[in-house]
């Protein structure tokens, strides 16, 4: 008998720390699958953030380090210089990347750092228990806004892909979602593309995953997936925000 679905060697055979229905695990698996398929697991260095995925280095089968909250892009900049021929990536949540680490991510993207950032947008601070994040939608509740986010108090949620795509040296920018099998397949293609751009030395690549946090959203896993479709995707449109011009095409 031929197995049709197996573990990827990219994930270590341990249980993760993620809640049931959390899509952090899917994002992990996609990244690791692509690295395994590319034969790069032994030639990759990853940076884990502060957030629920701080323990990513216990699950992902590549050399990794932790970074202080928000600083992963600076850490990856240093790794890239010391190991110019390895695959380098950061994996960051929305509090980590879009709040405390805004300076580091924008600066790294502006410099066109040759690494890939995988950005988990679950619209909330997961690890610290559901406070409002820069990406929390208007009306969405958090423990620091029990009546829901208002524009008057918090301003509008930040659209990171749109922001990063302004920067010329950020050569690949795409937003994907982890809510349906079809979208998961598209997400994997985006990961492939990000690594491809990195290996070609074209510049910085950025993939935003619309992700779930059923625990802090107060939803069941399946309702959480539905919420991504109904609420998140309309505000955070999926698609490619910037891509290298095809060879021979107009720049």
């Amino acid at each position: 008998m031929k197995p049709v679905f197996t573990y990827t060697k990219g994930m270590l055979p341990v249980s993760t720390s993620y809640c049931p229905g959390c899509t952090h695990g899917i994002a992990h698996r996609l990244i690791m699958e692509v690295l395994e398929e590319n034969g790069k697991l032994g030639d990759t260095v990853g940076v884990a953030p502060i957030g629920c995925s701080v323990l990513a280095h216990q699950f992902m089968n590549v050399d990794m380090c932790e970074a202080a909250h928000g600083r992963a892009p600076a850490v990856a900049t240093g790794i890239r210089r010391a190991q110019p021929h390895k695959v380098v990536f950061t994996y960051q949540g929305d509090g980590d990347l879009a709040s405390i680490g805004m300076s580091e991510i924008i600066a790294a993207a502006a410099r066109g750092e040759r690494f890939s950032t995988f950005f988990i947008n679950n619209g909330i601070y997961g690890m610290t228990g559901g406070q409002i994040a820069p990406t929390t939608l208007i009306g969405q509740r958090g423990t620091t806004a029990v009546e829901g986010r208002t524009k008057a108090q918090f301003g509008m949620p930040i659209k990171m892909c749109e922001l990063i795509a302004q920067l010329e040296c950020a050569v690949y920018v795409e937003r994907v979602a982890l809510n349906t099998p079809a979208n998961v397949r598209k997400a994997k293609k985006a990961v492939q593309k990000a690594f491809e751009v990195q290996e070609k030395g074209l510049g910085f690549s950025f993939v935003e995953f619309l992700s779930t946090c059923p625990t802090n959203w107060g939803l069941t896993p399946s309702d959480a997936l539905q919420w991504v479709s109904d609420k998140m995707i309309p505000y955070y449109p999926l698609g490619v925000y910037r891509a290298p011009q095809p060879e021979g095409g107009q720049a």
Binding site: M64, E66, V75, G78, S103
Partner: protein, 361 residues
């Protein structure tokens, strides 16, 4: 063969770091050390090294952490407020055991303070400005040659003890021109050599001898695991103390008054001692070169004739806390200080020293 040249302090510091094997520099402009990133931007790429102008000191220290964790030999520099911003990163480097060389060409504070030389970062440097239980070796040279020699040696010490090493200089030393003998350059380590030299580094495990996966981290959720980790760090500090503790003692045997001073003010104190000698007053000096580990044992060399120990510093009384510990109640301890960026004249210090001796009568 050492090469003798006349150089500005900041440029000599940068040169010494490169010659000591530091291939990576991540910097952000701040007075009085901006000549260092400028010099590095010109010199490092020529020699096969890497210069990055970071977005902030937070960026710089975290680039240092990344490059160091990936096995690179890193030198960075800043001045007081910039060093303050780096403290979070230093705590991470210490816990994750990532080597690096960090130079503080200090100015005066608090806050943005001023740009004149100061020594008010003593607590920040020696007490750990970041969170948690940690130390890092801190060296405070008092002239350019000593600074060049210790910066040149620092990358090897950092690698050996798996720790960041700090050099605490001040704006006076950074801006001054002096002749120095520059030691011979050590070759840079190539990325391909790192997996064998530093198996703990995150280089990708494909080419690593043994092929073990590396993780560089500081998080330990289990209290027992964290306690064990911190105790292991402290056991290493104990093992390193003999090699890292450095100081100079001058004229302690028959000194009536013993100064304790480091850096720029220590250099000035040598003049004060001569001045006092001309007036028939014998003074000596304990000059800590390592501020951490602090050379408490030097105080055992204080002779029977000594009546008072004086902490001379460009801060409001920070070094004096270690002087109290060194003296350990055996003698009275006094403070001679200026702050705000003012360096006293040797006449002023000599007068204050005489007044202290008078007051004891």
């Amino acid at each position: 063969m050492a090469e003798k040249v006349l150089m500005k302090g900041n440029e000599a510091f940068a040169e010494a770091a490169m010659r000591g094997g530091c291939r990576f520099y991540f910097g952000y402009p701040i007075t009085p050390q901006s000549e260092i990133p400028e010099y590095m931007s010109r010199e490092l790429p020529k020699r096969g090294g890497v210069f990055v102008q970071a977005e902030s000191e937070l960026g710089a220290i975290n680039m240092t952490y990344g490059a160091g964790a990936a096995g690179g030999s890193v030198f960075i520099s800043s001045s007081s407020p910039g060093i303050a911003l780096m403290q979070e990163g230093m705590s991470f480097l210490c816990s994750a055991e990532v080597p690096a060389v960090i130079l503080n060409v200090s100015r005066c504070g608090p806050g943005i303070g001023g740009i004149q030389p100061g020594q008010a970062d003593y607590f920040q440097a020696t007490r750990g400005g970041g969170n948690g239980d940690y130390h890092m070796p801190v060296f405070a040279p008092c002239n350019m040659q000593e600074a060049v020699d210790i910066i040149y040696e620092a990358p090897a010490l950092a690698d050996k003890w798996r720790t960041p090493v700090m050099i605490l200089a001040d704006g006076m030393m950074g801006q001054m021109m002096e002749p120095v003998a520059l030691p011979d350059p050590k070759p840079f380590v190539e990325p391909e050599e790192i997996p064998a030299n530093k198996p703990w580094a995150i280089t990708g495990y494909a080419k690593k001898p043994g092929g073990a996966r590396a993780v560089v981290k500081s998080l330990r959720m289990q209290p027992e695991a964290l306690e064990e980790h911190v105790e292991r760090l402290f056991a290493r500090y104990d093992a390193a103390k003999a090699e890292l503790t450095r100081y100079e003692c001058i004229g302690l045997e028959d000194a009536e008054l013993v100064f304790v001073a480091y850096g720029t003010i220590a250099r000035l104190t040598l003049e004060v001692i001569e001045m006092l000698a001309e007036q028939g007053i014998k003074a000596g000096l304990i000059r800590p070169i390592s501020l951490w580990p602090f050379p408490y044992e030097a105080f055992d060399q204080i002779g029977k004739r000594t009546k008072v120990v004086v902490s001379a510093e460009l801060s409001m009384g920070q070094l004096i806390e270690d002087v109290y510990r060194g003296v350990n109640g055996r003698l009275p301890v006094e403070l001679i200080h200026r702050t705000g960026g003012i360096i006293p004249t040797s006449i002023e210090v000599a007068q204050k020293a005489k007044a202290i001796l008078e007051g004891l009568k």
